[in-house]
Structure formats: structure tokens, C-alpha cells
Symmetry: D2
Subunit: 309 residues, 4 copies
């Protein structure tokens, strides 16, 4: 393997030179105003060593990457009864599609489409108030990232609420099928806020460490999740982590990963490394255009893949 | 790791004792009349060592497992232009669904649903007659399985033709969208025959060896496919190998795999082993019920998974 | 033609004797607790003469029949620009389906499915408050029914709000597509209240008089709508008045009509009569089971049909 | 009412002057090569008097208008058991959609979409050969049109067979659901040929006479169908006669009607007249653009409508 730092530096150089960076998410002002020329990447090796390049310490809105964290919390709390509330199949539909819900009586296909993530949030609320639930989610993220400074960007969250009609439609639809245990507006409040966590590539790569080592955070020695469940989070990311672009990501990158419309992606090389990359411009499906390409380059040059030795 | 032979023996014992073996595929007499109590499993380790148990040498109809072989041939012949003819995303729909075709202008979502496999067969025909195309497919399978005795079961193939209206609908639909290059009836002829290859677990496990070692068949040293393409076949099996049960298989088994309605499943542990299991009874989605369970047990006891170390 | 009174009496007798009256709408308590044995019918002849039988003066919740009145108001106010907001094709889907909305970018297929009626309410609000809009709708109904006593049943309306998640999903979905001009919650408030108007068969038959005579209420001489628009309301009722049972209603009854889940149906025999019938038990699609049968008997015995002389 | 001849002459003049005549059907050469400037219209009054203008005697391919005749034959032969084979609801989908078939287990929504017409043809074959069945259909059309010269255009029929993959897909799909009683290829043969009947506006208007007078052909006194069934054919034309443009046609024209991709439309004014119009250019849905507009003008100037007096 080449020197990892060289590869990351090359990736940053190539990304900076690329004229077509994709389209920044436009539906809320806080995302639309992001400078599309920013680019960061961080790799956290299994032993804890961190290699990074570009704007790896710049904070951005993690958006749907948060779904990995809430699903981890939910699987820890509810175990396999979680799957009574949400499925674990790729949906074949866009992230915000409501069609599948009507066809399948309000049960979301998987926890990483919006409807599924709303159902997961509902599952972990367990009758508590939004504030308490958010505190738990934030505490969990801080713990696995080993960084108490991580916070929810209220300005983004408020924008999400104001422009959240599509997600409100999904939540009310599920409620109409008797799928939600908590008040719809409260569930939506938690959902919008937990998407608005601000993190850097470095923080995200660290936060994903437990997925590298079968549930144990090797830097701290803490067991975050059982071996089996950690692997299952990886399988969910592989199958559903990029919406209707999950097959494309598996084909091109060959790693479990999860994207957010803020332009971030986390990916996991089991036993080897966790990766976080960030470039705000998105492809048509809503995944970071240059982030995906960076991961493709990184895996080609390192040989990392779950599909080969 | 425990002794592999012990694990396989235990799996056979458990399978034989299981009262609910699922439903044998009923749509053609040759599959419907199979004795559901048969069960075989074979593991071919990376070094070439073979461990098996139960009816591992009994021939059965490989059905959709053949799609892995034709997709391998097509990727070798056409390279990435194959993806102009067929997508590589999970479909979220049953194996024989026609809805997705209408929504996406006749382009099948992936090569492992029926429509996609028909498109792949059409792609490798390249104007030749069915007989020549079938000869090429059979020669390829014999080569990678290192067994010249492998044959197409004509009785099964004739039955498939007689009861193949659903597949004929898929093929004519694609033709109506200008998606097929060859005569519809000829393409269907090849399709039905190549599903009717008869193989044993031992033969299938050997045939999948090249997917364990990045495209090289370690027993013979022959390179079947480039490293990148071999990994991509694995990624396709992971994402789409079990139709709308692919997420379930990834979650429970954690390996790339491909099932057939004959009750067979192949699975790949990169760098470690290829596996073939066979139990004719199917679950509701059309995947082998006890075959899936056997793979779940095998991976739990061996620790094999692409999602953890 | 037989004596109309005899026919109506026979219909009431037959309805009372029928053991299977269908299922009363169960989703809100105020509808679920209705006595299913009630049955009323009223025919208002073109000259103004009223013939009725059974519980023709009992008030019931008109529910979706109100959509005829709001569509009339909207067509009067907006003219054909209304059709930029809502289509005029049968949907082929249930009354509360959201699938069509996603396929067609949030534009409801017609004004008589729930999504369409919400869009119509939004169209007539024109920035006003719910109270003012409801006052206008109620004034219109009172005017065409020539009865100032007609009112909105607040108890029903409040129940609708509490159980209205499915309609909230439809409204938020349309809002997410930029289809609503007013605040979602206010639009829903008007929607739920205008479905909760309480009327009797006699009042409804009178209210539908203007549809018999090309837009003129012959009893009062008032022109409610232009000739062309009155005919078009009839065409909309014919094509879309019974959701995905509209074809069935046209086939069996042969008249433009509109049903509500309260068990009421209005129907129009152009130049001859308006009809209102009420029986709370519904068929699987949500149309009054005995109400439909009553109209079938009535048209068979009178020869009334728009499809023959 | 104005002089009918004047109205028709005006309509022809306006049609000839219209620059945008729509797009001629392109999928088979015999239709694609038609001169788009042709335009004919014929009105057959209830008393038998014929008024026509333009190319009213020019033969064209009636295409889907033939579905009215086969449905009439089928209803006469099978009565209401026909509806076990095909529904009678508007589909909300294009004429050749296969999605509805998969959602509803292979039962076509109505007899006027392609799948439904194939099912109707299958229903009237009753084990006979295509030649016999076609002879029966042709004899029926000649009888109701009172014209023995009507024939099937073999050149068109052969073209339809060659380009009929979409219809073959529909037929095979239905066969795979056990919905067809006869051999798929034979059913398709009859289907393609009966679409290829060549008729003029004059012949079509005469052929539709029995729908004006409750099933009796007033010119000959022959009863073609019972009163009730004749009205039901009209109701089917109203609800489903223009595919997913049926609501539009009802709204704009206000009469039961049936279009064909050859550019013809028949329409019925119960008790008053049958109408046939022909202009080869189609709108996006596949209905004659100027034919529809002609009927709109005709009904506006005559006041004809089933929705008003």
C-alpha cells in the first residue's frame, strides 16, 4: 500500500481541481449557502491513528448520517423487536418516497430512508419529551466520537422544521397506519434536530470506529454494541446507506457507507479503518458527488473492499 | 474456529430434523416433484480443500444461480457497457415483477432479477444462435467448475418453456422498449435452458472459487475475471442476490450470495471460502428456507462475515 | 312510469329487510356510533316537487358530498384556472391514496379524492382565515338548499381533526410540492369542518337542484352556475364521484353521483330530478351499500339514465 | 339548433386551417404514413338521416374503436360473467400499461385498455380458431354497419403482429396469471387483426346507431343488444373510452365515446345521434387531437350532452 497521507492529499488536490462538484442541497437556506469548494477527508485506522487532508476539521451538517447513530441506539435498546417497526430491505425508491409506505401499510422499508429514520426516532423516544431524547442522542454521539463539543445547530434545525412538509407527510402517513407511538409533531421535532448535528470529518471518522472492530471502540476499549449488531449496522449501511444509489456505491466503492445531504459520507473497512469524507455538492440521487469519487479512488489505491482480500 | 466438518454435520442434522422445510417451487413439474427432504452443503476453502456434508453430490436445477455465471461472461465480454442494458441497483420488488420495467423504460434494475438476466442473455448472444450461446455458457460453467460432466437438463428446460409466460411477458416488454438485440423467442430459449443446468453443491462451490480470490481460481491458477470485476460480481450478489430478500440475507448471513428457486444458494467469504448449500423448500420470497438458515448457522459458528474481522 | 312514491316506499321496505347493510365508517366515533338501520331517500323533480320516503329528514354527516359544493364554488371563482391546481381524471386509486401524488408531483388527479378536495379548499381560501372560508361554504350550501338551518357539526369536525393523520399526510405532501397557497393546518381545519356539515336527504336533494337544470335552481329561479360549468360538475361526478368504484356506479346506476362515507349519495338525472339517498353501511370501497342499490332499483324502475333515452 | 350541415362544414374548415394537427401514430408504418391533413365527420341522427362533411367516406384503421364491438359481442355472449375476466373501472393509466395487471393479479381494469381488449377477445374465442372468431367479429360489424364491404386490412394486421411486443407482453402476463383460456399467440392474432378493420366515418356512425336507441338499430329495426346492456356499453365508453384522457373527454365533450390510434372517435348522444369523426393526428395520450376538438365544437353548438337537458 502506498503512503495513506499521499493518497488523501492527492484526493484533495483532484477534488479541488474538479469543475463539476454537483449541486449543493437547496431545500433549506443553511445548506444552500454552503461554499461548494470545501472538501475534507479523514481516515481513522483500527489502531486509532488518524490521517486526514483538506477541510477535515470543518464542521458541517451530518444530516442523514445521524440515522446510523439512532439506529445503533435503537438496536441497542429494542434489539430485534426494532424490525417490527421498520424493515431492512433496500427500498429501490428515493429517500423521501411515500409510495412504498402506502403499499406496505405504513411500515418503512429500512431505517435509512426518511420514513424509516422517523420510525427509529419514534422507537427510541419511548414516551419521553423531545429534549430528553435529543439529549440521549447527542450524548451517544459525543461518547462514540469521544468529543464533548459536538452540538446541534439550531439554525439548521429550525430551517428543517419550516421546510419539512415532505417529512411531515411521511410521519402523518405512518401515524395514520398506527405506526407511531409518540405525538407526530414531537417525533418530527426530534427528527429535524438530530439531522442538524454539526460534525467534522475527523469527528465522524472517530465516531464510526466501533463499526470497524465488531462493536468495540479500540481507542477507548469501550464496547458500543455486540459483535453481531455492529456487523448488522454495517450490513444495513451496505444495503441501504445511499438510498436508490446503494447498488452504485457498493459497485464502485465496495464498502458499507452512509451519506447525508450535507455532503458527508462515512464508510467502514472492517478490521482496518473508518473513513469520513465531505464535499457539499450532490449527485442526482442526493449523495456527495466528489465524496463518492474520493472513496472510489481511496479504495482503488488501497485495495480496501469487503468483496476481496 | 471449530472443526468445519463438525459444523457442517451439525447443520445437516438440524436441517433433517426441521419439520417446516418451506414450499418446493411448484410452477413446473420437474421442480415440484423434488423430494423436499434432501439437503446438501459444500465448502471449498481458498486453498482448494473441500469439506461437505449431506447430499452434496446430488444434482439439482441451479435455476437463478446461473445468472451469476452469465453476468460474469457478460462483464468479461462487454465490460461496463453492460450497464447500458441493465442497472445494478436492488429492485425492492419480486424476482418476476414487471412494474419496475414500465417505470424505467424497459431497463431492468439489475442482472439478477428475471428481466435483468434476460437482458444479460441477450447481451451475450451477439447475433448468434441459441445453441452456440448455450454452448458458450455451458463451456464456461464446466471450466470454472473444472468438471466436463455438467449438462443442461432438457426436461426441465422444456417445462420452463411451456410455463414461461411471465418471463415471456418480461422479454416482450423489454423488446417493445427496444431493449433486446436478438429475437425474443431465441433469447427466451437461451434463458430457459441456462436456468436448467444441473449441478451439485460440490460442483457449485468449486465454480464459485474465482469469486473468493479476486478473480483467480486458486485450484487451477486460471484468472477468470479481473480483480475489480470479481469484486463487483460479489457486490452485485450482496445487493441483489436474493431479490426482495437481499437485505434480510445480508443482515442474517453477512455474505454475498445468490439463490435459485431450485433451492440452491452459493455464497462467498472473500479470501476464505466459497459455499454451496441446497434444500429445495423455499420461503415466501423464493429463497431456500433451510439453505439460508444453514448459512446463518455456518457464519455464526465460523465468524465469517464481510462486515467484521 | 310507475308512481314514484310507490317506488320509493318499496325501496325503503327492501332496504329495511336487507340483512347485510355494509359496515358503518369506523374511523371516527361520531360516524361509528350511527344506527346502521336508518335509511332515507328523497327525489326533487325538476319542477320542484319533492317525493321522499324513510328517514328522509334525519340529519347525517355529508362528508365527501361537500366536495361537490366546494368544487362548484371554486369553479365559479377560479374558472378553468382551477385545473392548474387539480386534475379531472378518474384516479383508479382509493380516496385517500398518496401514491398518485408522488407520481404526479403533488397534483391531485381530481377534486373528489381527498387530496383534490384539500387543494380545492386551498384554492377558495385565497388568504382568508378558516372561519371566513367556512362561512362562505356554509352560506353557499344554505343558499342552494334554500335552508338557513344547515350547520357544521363541531363534534364531528373535532373528531376528524384528531384522527386526520392520513389527510394531514396528503396536505403536507402537496405543500412539499409547492401546491398549497395557504398554511397547511388552516387548510386542513377548513377541510375537516366542511366535511362535517349535517344535512338530510331532503336538504341534499334540494341542494343538488341546480345540477338538474343546467345551473339554474328552478325552484327559486336563481342561476348558481353557467350551463357549461353545471354540466361539467355533472361530468366530474360521473367520472370521479365514487372513487375507484366510479365505473361500477356508472355501470349499475348510470347517473352522475357523489357519495360520502357518512352513507349519503346524491345523484342527478339531467332535466328530470335530483336524488339523495342515505344508508350508513358502506361497501369495501367506502360507498353506501344500500344507497347504491336503492339508486339501481330506482333507475331500473323509472328508466332514468344518462346513457339511454 | 343551427343547421347541422353548417356546423359540420365549419368544423371541417376549422380543422383544415389548424396548423397543429397532433402526431400521427408512429409505431407501425401503415399508420405512420397516413396523410395527417385528412379530416372527416359523420352524424347519423336517430331517425337514420346521415349528415357528413370532409373525408367522411375515406377508409381508415379503426384500431381501438373495435373494442366497442368486441365488448358488445362478449356482453351478448357471456352476460355479466364477462366481468369475472375484466373489470369496468377507469384505469388511470395509459392504454398499454402493465403495472395495473401486476397489482391486480392479471385482471385488466376495463375492456377498453389493451389488456382488457385482449381478455375480451379471449372470452369470445371459446376454443375456436382465430379465423372463425375473426369471421364472427367481422360479420357483426358488417351487420350493425349494414355494409358487407367492410374488411380487415391485412397489411396493417401484419404490421401490428411484427411490432406487437407490448401487447404480447400484456397477453403473456395475463396467461401467466391463468387469465386466458386460449393459446396466447392465437388470441394475439385475433386481437391484431380485429384492430385492423378499415372503416369510414359514415360506416362507423351507422355502426354505432344501436347505442343511440337503447340497443335497437332504428334504421333496420333490429335489436342488437338489450336496453340495459346498450346503456352499459355507453357507460363503459364514458368511463374508459379515452384511456387516461377519459375524464378530459367527459369534461370537454360530455358524451360517451371511444377513440382509436388511427385517429377515429365514435360518440353517442342517447336518443339523438351517433357521431364518427376522424383526424389522424393524436394528442399525447393517443386520442385524435382535432377529432376531440371537433366533438367539443359540435356539442357546444348543438347543446348535445348527457349532463344537461
Amino acid at each position: 500500500m502506498e503512503e495513506l497521507q499521499t493518497i488523501l492529499d492527492d484526493i484533495v488536490t483532484a477534488a479541488r481541481a474538479e469543475p463539476d462538484k454537483g449541486q449543493v442541497a437547496s431545500y433549506i437556506p443553511q445548506l444552500a449557502n454552503i461554499d461548494p469548494d470545501q472538501f475534507g477527508i479523514a481516515v481513522c485506522l483500527a489502531g486509532g491513528e488518524l490521517v486526514c487532508a483538506g477541510d477535515a476539521d470543518t464542521l458541517f451538517s451530518i444530516q442523514s448520517i445521524s440515522k446510523v447513530f439512532t439506529t445503533t441506539i435503537a438496536l441497542g435498546k429494542l434489539g430485534d423487536t426494532l424490525w417490527q417497526r421498520v424493515g431492512r430491505e433496500p427500498s429501490g425508491d428515493p429517500f423521501n418516497s411515500i409510495i412504498q409506505l402506502e403499499h406496505e401499510n405504513g411500515k418503512p422499508r429500512n431505517p435509512f430512508i426518511n420514513a424509516g429514520a422517523i420510525a427509529v426516532v419514534d422507537a427510541i423516544m419511548q414516551g419521553r419529551q423531545p429534549k430528553e431524547t435529543l439529549a440521549e442522542i447527542l450524548a451517544f454521539i459525543r461518547w462514540i466520537a469521544n468529543d464533548e463539543a459536538i452540538y446541534i445547530d439550531d439554525k439548521v434545525a429550525r430551517s428543517e422544521v419550516l421546510t419539512g412538509d415532505r417529512n411531515a407527510a411521511l410521519a402523518h402517513f405512518m401515524a395514520s397506519c398506527g405506526r407511531l407511538s409518540n405525538n407526530v409533531d414531537k417525533v418530527l421535532g426530534v427528527y429535524f434536530h438530530h439531522c442538524s448535528v454539526a460534525m467534522s470529518c475527523v469527528q465522524l471518522a472517530r465516531a464510526a470506529q466501533f463499526l470497524v472492530s465488531d462493536g468495540v471502540d479500540l481507542s477507548t476499549g469501550a464496547r458500543v454494541l455486540s459483535t453481531q449488531r455492529a456487523r448488522r449496522i454495517n450490513s444495513l449501511m451496505m444495503m441501504c446507506g445511499h438510498y436508490d444509489g446503494s447498488g452504485e456505491f457498493a459497485y464502485r466503492v465496495g464498502l458499507p457507507g452512509k451519506s447525508g445531504v450535507g455532503g458527508g459520507i462515512i464508510a467502514v473497512v472492517p478490521d482496518v479503518a473508518s473513513i469520513a469524507v465531505w464535499s457539499p455538492g450532490l449527485d442526482k440521487i442526493g449523495n456527495s458527488r466528489l465524496g463518492t469519487r474520493a472513496l472510489e479512488t481511496l479504495t482503488r489505491r488501497t485495495g480496501w473492499s469487503v468483496f476481496g482480500r
